[in-house]
Amino acid sequence: MAADKLLRMANQIATFFATQPGRDQAERVAAHLKDFWGPEMRAELKAYALDHDADLNDLVRRALPLI
């Protein structure tokens, strides 16, 4: 799968949760990814993120270890 697209989608999810009140935004990003993305997509995102840390939304960065 186009990993850059996965990253874009993850960042888009994070952009929404960043606007939400509370302190658990990263957990909510992680929960969303786990609910709607299969394990292969999550693994691919994680692998791609290793080399593209600069492109990651901070919430995605914090969510990755939780997925």
Partner: protein, 970 residues
């Protein structure tokens, strides 16, 4: 009192509409009858089982009192009042038959017949003519008025009695492809004109002239039915008591002798129809008056556009090919299914369990959809199932699920009759959901206010006798900003319903939300430059919605098909909760679903993360239910969504697809990407009526059955489960559920696993009811008895649920969610300065696979680009010019139509024709939560062109090559 007559199945015309009111008792022909106050004497008599003769009355129209055939005697009253216009009164004593009224009726009929041809035996309405029936009822035996020989004219003879040409004779108008208007047969009862006004709300017809010169006339002088405003809904044809307005199919095939009640397979309104036949030849479709979604009305698609079912393009034999550059080879079912099963099993063996998947169809029945998702979960053993709801209402599922606890639309369609303020957001009901639009327009004519939020001036904004109070013509992509600004006005001006919020919602979350939304950045004045909506207009619209009485929101794909689709759905839910517009009749949040069974396909577990009944696959207790029923272990992780499948195919991890009744190559965004994904697969199985665009990339074609050829159920946008009944045998040999079962069994047999043994869709529904709480009490016997039921239907709601969230939200407390506007990444710039938005048109449906194969093409034979005259002028584009439409994704060419329906900076087109390839233009941006594609916003440039692009020509060439079928071996 006479015995109670069970209304179910009785579709007699009661003469005048039902009324609600206090009971009133009266005596009719010696029988006591009790009816609601306001009921006409005619209807009261009909309830007592007594039919008063009538010609101009019909129970879907207000009484008119013109034919004078329904006169009766009422004790103590002078004269002979018309029973249709006389309301009942307590103690009234009515005689419907007396020497006096018999004489009057006979005289009236004699006059009617004096200006009517007596060609009954060869007339197309023979046996189905109320004039003929009434002549019989009143005992008309002769007709004394013959025209004198000095040139007296009738309306039905081409020449007068002296042999001169008769200027009062008008020839038949057969301009409409589906019905004719024969003025010679007209009795000027006004029923067609009234149906056009009262039922359809188009006001295309009128009566021209006075007295003997009165004629039915479509539009202005020189108009025929086709050139008039007529939308060909057929309400006039249905209303006509004679052969004046007559279906061409009846003229050609004769009057039908049997009928079957079934459900339309077009849009999400889900109209009930009587399919009327001779033998297994379908003669006509007439809307069923007890259909709870449509109440006896229909549109041009449902009533007339069924010819695709017998179109020559329909494929009736299975076909296979080794690779997509080869022509198709017709084979027997066994060979096709064996080939498909071997390929899919081979792919799974080579690339893993998750390398294949399915796409379920929103056009097929619940039972069929359930089997397709079961195929992937119980036979393929993965969760790779998705459905076209992905590309339309998946954000509704997420957004309403988060706020209310269920994706369900909250109302039934009847509810609109009690709305005071209707907000239509990103929907075009007169084109997309025409029968609902007619019901909405009826309410608007009665005084309800309308707010339209749409970039384009849809018909509802200004149409005969209707004008929107506010049209917020926002810039595409700014829905969240506009809806949130409405909430800002409601909160900061203190117009919210604090009592409702305290009682029904989470108060803490409301506090957070109120603080968020009160911020000045959400004020209408602050977003005016961004959205293009005048702040004063937006404020006035918000105030109207909050304070105008029952506020009902209806929305469509203009809400969901955006990067922030889910956020807009939540913003809409917030508005409804803020104002207490939830949980009773006349209010609510109503997603207008696109396809006939898109609601059902979602209910049936078509999504990769949900089992039937919207229960996440991660829940072990839910999996246990299905593991018990199916005898397999269910994958606890979500599978791939359609865009994910295509991405995975391009990168090599997804190799096999079973696609039932959906044409992803035409309907899904970024055509080149979809084509690349399909081309990368090793086995694409297309199960459809036609060799659709997706089939260009298929290896196996399984011919499908039309909705007329199978049993099952569809669930419409109001959650109504309606029966689909087999009207004729499947032309391809099998109903679609049987074909899925045969494919499953071909694979199960190879694997030595137990086979499926369904023999009727009722058994599939039993399995659905046994596993899915919202369907627990649904079965075919109940649907036979009640006609339809709205889920949830279980022990808690044994009669179904017309209105949701009545005593509390499904999730407990309603949840306000902060909805910050975040601009889409799709931006205009110097290269692509315009915004393209896409939509639908009345006469065509979705990708057009069905409607393009009917006479409906007369109204829309190609997709055109709507462009504002200013934008056209600076580009040198004139009406009808070929223009090139280009985006970052691709380019296509189509003809331009100059109109101020769209604002400057915005262009619009439809995607009903594969030759246009509108989706070559749309991008792969999608909703953040659900991956619903952003069809509604694409940055484009428009310029003059010479005709189709190279892409269109090469696509067409590839499609032609791909559709070759080898002649069958002798």
């Amino acid at each position: 009192m006479k015995d109670f007559i069970i209304p179910w199945g009785d579709d007699r015309d009661m003469g005048t509409p039902a009324r609600q009111g206090a009971p009133v008792s009266l005596i009719i022909d010696g029988f006591e009858v009790t009816v609601p106050e306001g009921t006409s004497v005619m209807r009261a008599a009909a309830i007592a089982g007594i039919s008063v003769p009538k010609l101009c009355a019909s129970d879907n129209l207000e009484a008119f009192g013109s034919c004078r055939l329904c006169v009766v005697e009422i004790e103590g009253r002078r004269g002979t009042p018309a029973s249709c216009t006389t309301p009942v009164a307590a103690g009234m004593v009515v005689r419907t038959q007396s020497e006096q009224v018999k004489k009057i009726r006979k005289g009236v009929m004699e006059l009617y017949i004096s200006d009517h041809p007596l060609d009954c035996l060869t007339c197309s309405a023979n046996g189905d003519c109320e004039l003929q029936d009434m002549a019989g009822v009143v005992g008309l035996r002769d007709q004394r008025y013959s025209p004198p020989a000095d040139g007296m004219r009738t309306h039905f003879a081409a020449r007068d009695t002296s042999g001169q040409v008769n200027p009062d004779y008008l020839p038949k108008d057969d301009s409409n492809p589906y019905f004719t208007y024969d003025p010679a047969k007209c009795i000027v009862c006004n029923r067609c004109v009234r149906a056009c006004e009262e039922v359809q709300g188009t006001f295309a017809l009128t009566i021209e002239g006075r007295g003997f010169d009165s004629r039915v006339s479509p539009g202005g002088a020189g108009d025929d039915f086709l050139s008039s405003d007529c939308v060909s809904c057929g309400a006039c044809v249905q209303a006509c008591p004679t052969a004046t307005l007559q279906e061409k199919s009846v003229i050609e095939l004769g009057t039908p002798t049997r009928s079957v009640i079934t459900t339309c397979a077009y849009c999400g309104v889900g109209c009930s129809f009587k399919a009327e036949l001779n033998g297994d030849e379908l003669v006509r479709m007439t809307p069923y008056k007890h259909g709870a979604a449509n109440r006896g009305h229909s549109c041009v698609k449902g009533r007339f556009a069924y010819g695709y079912a017998t179109h020559a393009d329909r494929i009736l034999n299975p076909m296979i090919r080794e690779s997509i550059d080869q022509p198709w080879r017709e084979v027997g079912w066994q060979e096709a299914l064996g080939f498909a099963a071997a390929r899919m099993r081979g792919i799974q063996a080579r690339y893993g369990r998750k390398s294949v998947g399915v796409i379920t169809s929103s056009r097929c029945t619940n039972e069929e959809t359930y089997l397709v998702q079961k195929l992937t979960r119980a036979v393929f053993l993965n969760n790779n199932t998705d459905t076209c709801a992905r590309v339309c209402h998946s954000p509704t599922g997420y957004g309403l699920g988060q706020t209310f606890g269920t994706s369900a639309g909250t109302q039934n369609f009847d509810s609109v009759a009690l709305a005071d303020v209707v907000v239509v957001i990103g929907a075009n009901p007169t084109d997309g959901h025409p029968v609902f639009a007619s019901r909405l327009k009826k309410r608007l004519r009665a005084g309800a206010k309308l707010i339209v939020i749409d970039p384009r001036r849809i018909d509802l904004v200004k149409t005969p006798h209707i004008e929107a109070a506010h049209h917020l013509a926002l810039r595409p992509g700014t829905n969240v900003a506009v809806v949130t600004a409405m909430a800002h006005v409601i909160v900061t001006e203190g117009l919210y319903d604090a009592e409702f919020i305290r009682a029904r919602c989470d108060w803490d979350e409301f506090q957070d939300y109120a603080e968020f939304v009160s911020d000045l950045r959400h004020a209408p004045e602050m977003i005016e430059m961004l959205t293009g909506v005048a702040a004063e207009d937006l404020r006035a619209a918000a105030r109207l919605y909050a304070t105008g009485g029952n506020g009902a929101i209806y929305y469509g794909l203009g809400v969901t098909e955006h990067s922030q689709g889910s956020t807009t759905v939540m913003a809409i839910a917030n508005l409804a909760m803020l104002t207490g517009n939830i949980g009773r009749e006349g209010v609510g949040v109503n997603p207008l679903r696109g396809q006939n069974n898109v609601q059902g396909s979602c209910d049936m577990g078509s999504f990769p993360h949900e089992l039937p009944g919207y229960r996440h696959v991660k829940n072990a207790d839910v999996r246990a239910i299905f593991e018990g029923a199916w005898g397999v272990e269910i994958d606890p992780e979500p599978g791939l969504r359609i865009p994910n499948m295509l991405d995975a195919a391009v990168s090599g991890g997804f190799k096999g697809l079973y696609c039932q009744g959906e044409d992803i190559l035409q309907s899904d965004p970024d055509t080149r990407h979809v084509a690349a994904g399909l081309a990368a697969m090793e086995c694409v199985i297309v199960h459809d009526l036609f060799l659709n665009e997706t089939a260009n990339y298929a290896h196996v074609f399984l011919p499908g059955s039309s909705f007329l050829e199978k049993d099952g159920t569809f669930t419409n946008a109001e959650r109504r489960i309606n029966r689909v009944r087999r009207v004729m045998a499947p032309r391809n040999g099998y109903a679609d559920w049987e074909i899925t079962q045969m494919l499953a069994n071909a694979m199960l047999k190879d694997a030595g696993r137990p086979l499926w043994h369904y023999t009727h869709p009722a058994q599939i529904m039993e399995e659905i009811a046994a596993t899915t709480p919202g369907f627990a009490n649904v079965d075919y016997a109940m649907l036979e008895e009640r006609g339809s039921v709205q889920w949830p239907c279980n022990d808690a709601n044994p009669h179904g649920s017309p209105i949701m969230h009545v005593d509390g939200f499904v999730r407990g407390r309603g949840r306000f969610i902060v909805t910050e506007y975040i601009a889409t990444e799709e931006r205009t710039g110097p290269r692509f300065p315009l915004l393209l938005t896409t939509g639908r048109i009345l006469s065509q449906y979705n990708v057009g696979a069905q409607t393009r194969r009917t006479e409906n093409t007369i109204w829309h034979s190609e997709d055109v680009l709507e462009i504002h005259p200013h934008d056209a002028e600076v580009r040198g584009v004139k009406e009808g010019d070929w223009v090139r439409l280009a985006s970052r994704s691709g380019e296509t060419s189509l003809r331009a139509h100059l109109t101020d329906r769209v604002s400057p900076g915005v262009v619009y087109t439809t995607f009903h024709h594969p030759t246009t390839q509108a989706n070559v233009i749309t991008t792969d941006y999608s909703d953040w939560a659900t991956n619903c594609p952003e069809y509604k916003v694409t940055a484009v440039q428009v310029g003059l062109s010479n005709g189709p692009t190279d892409w269109q020509e090469s696509y067409d060439q590839q499609a032609r090559l791909s559709r070759r079928i080898l002649p069958a071996a002798e």
